[in-house]
Symmetry: C2
Subunit: 328 residues, 2 copies
Amino acid sequence: METTCQSEFAPVSLLEKISRVDFEQAASRISADTIITPLLPHSRDSGDKKIWLKPECLQPLGSFKIRAAANLAECRASGLSLKIATASAGNFAQGLALAARRRGLELTVHVPDNASSAKIAALKRLGVSLKVHSFEGWWQIMTTRETGSDDGMFFHPVCEPEVIVGNGTVGRELVSQLSDIDTVLVPYGGGGLISGVALALRAYGSKARIIAVEVETSTPLSAALQAGEPTTVDRLPSFVDGIGSVRVIDAMWPLVRALVDDVIVVSLKEIESAIRAAAARNALVLEGAAGAALAAALSDRCQGKRVACILSGGNIGLDELVRILTSG
Amino acid sequence: METTCQSEFAPVSLLEKISRVDFEQAASRISADTIITPLLPHSRDSGDKKIWLKPECLQPLGSFKIRAAANLAECRASGLSLKIATASAGNFAQGLALAARRRGLELTVHVPDNASSAKIAALKRLGVSLKVHSFEGWWQIMTTRETGSDDGMFFHPVCEPEVIVGNGTVGRELVSQLSDIDTVLVPYGGGGLISGVALALRAYGSKARIIAVEVETSTPLSAALQAGEPTTVDRLPSFVDGIGSVRVIDAMWPLVRALVDDVIVVSLKEIESAIRAAAARNALVLEGAAGAALAAALSDRCQGKRVACILSGGNIGLDELVRILTSG
């Protein structure tokens, strides 16, 4: 696989180009920045369905995105100009901020105005320049890579080969931890996590079904699967800030369509219940997107018998967490 | 090391008898029942002190005690009478309950009346017979092994060689994850966890200082270290139910005195602050005893520069957790 800088990267090309060696190299590149997350049984009785959790919320900075950021930085950020930029709701930006600080790079992060206060505070602690946009303005940057300012080379949080392969290291670990999974549930944000995980499972010979999870407040993937192409949908703000855009990223669509077997949409109430279950039974704090994956596993709409949930992150404000813990 | 049933087990004998092979065998015995917990960096800036967390709260049933219970059951529970008993505040009993259920054994658990409702509920779900005692009555059972009823062979939650070695598998993992720790902080309950961890660190050649952590509401180890022998102390009830007895178990004292380098006493307020930090920065739910270990690491009384905290468990009622999260 090409790992040099590509201005015109077509994600679907990864279907042909990628193999185990890419994930092995990425795993070794990111090993100093990340942990190998354990696979935890979730104990709630669910008939003959068994559920395991892959708690990426335990990663440094509280999300899987450190994997992608570390892989990207390690591949590309040396020898470049001192200024780089990204657009992210927070988790990817935090990882990149850490990587940038270690390399003396100046990072500008473009955030949507619904990003959680916890994520904004974390970015400020990491010393980046912040630019806040309306959600629509931010999404415009995500789709065009045009930030409207002279803030250096733009690193897309989803649509870069190193990002997708870095995310895929989650899938590489998963197959080594449990060989006979039949279903993997992945929160659907920009499509980078599910694509990486699905590519890794394929590369390592797993036949598990790959199910995307969306929250009822915005379901662009469901809409795209129904329409046969990306289509713009409405979006209601909620505490689930890590997933739920207004449209599947067009460049990602051919890859996502090839890799995703189905989608499950969960309600905010189901996510809240899953967050309570993870706290009570697995000692884990989940953000909304991670709660969505567990909620999908616990719902009757998930037909799998051996189900793994990718718990994407744990960055939720304590006030929000308390609200959810007391709303049962 | 002897692993057959011993009615007159002297824990101090482990100092002579134990070696790496005991921990290797135990690790292999318990591998189907437990996870290898990751070692997580704790991100709060603390000058030049670095803190790592060993989150045993992620184990099945939410505590390190599954390690000891699985090791004990695997070594001894086959070919015995169908009735067994233990005395435990909950976590060890839960592990033993799971092991007993798998082997068709009938388990009676003697609990103190301050055990958390979460732990009592979990024991009920696992189908054991429960007998509730005053804390003093329960402690009497812990020191005499006499339950006052005909409920089968008694398995002590601390003072059994298989329990101490099972606990020690935490230390075995720790040295493989981080070779140059200078300080290990362990909550002090019955002394079984810290003894196991210390024996394992010694067996694997670590020179780390072993620091016990007590909560201000009952400090039997501090008192024993000062008096040169176990002495009975006062005890105030609190949300920290996993540690804090009225007296160091006499049989454990020679072993503990040989292995523990120092003790740090933390306040309830410090523990609450540590529980909030673990939730906000590491996506972990801690019970009081685990919070005590992190509280000690964060305090100025801990002089180490590379510090590992054993986070013993995560079994805390959600009401109590909410109280702590909102009391900052």
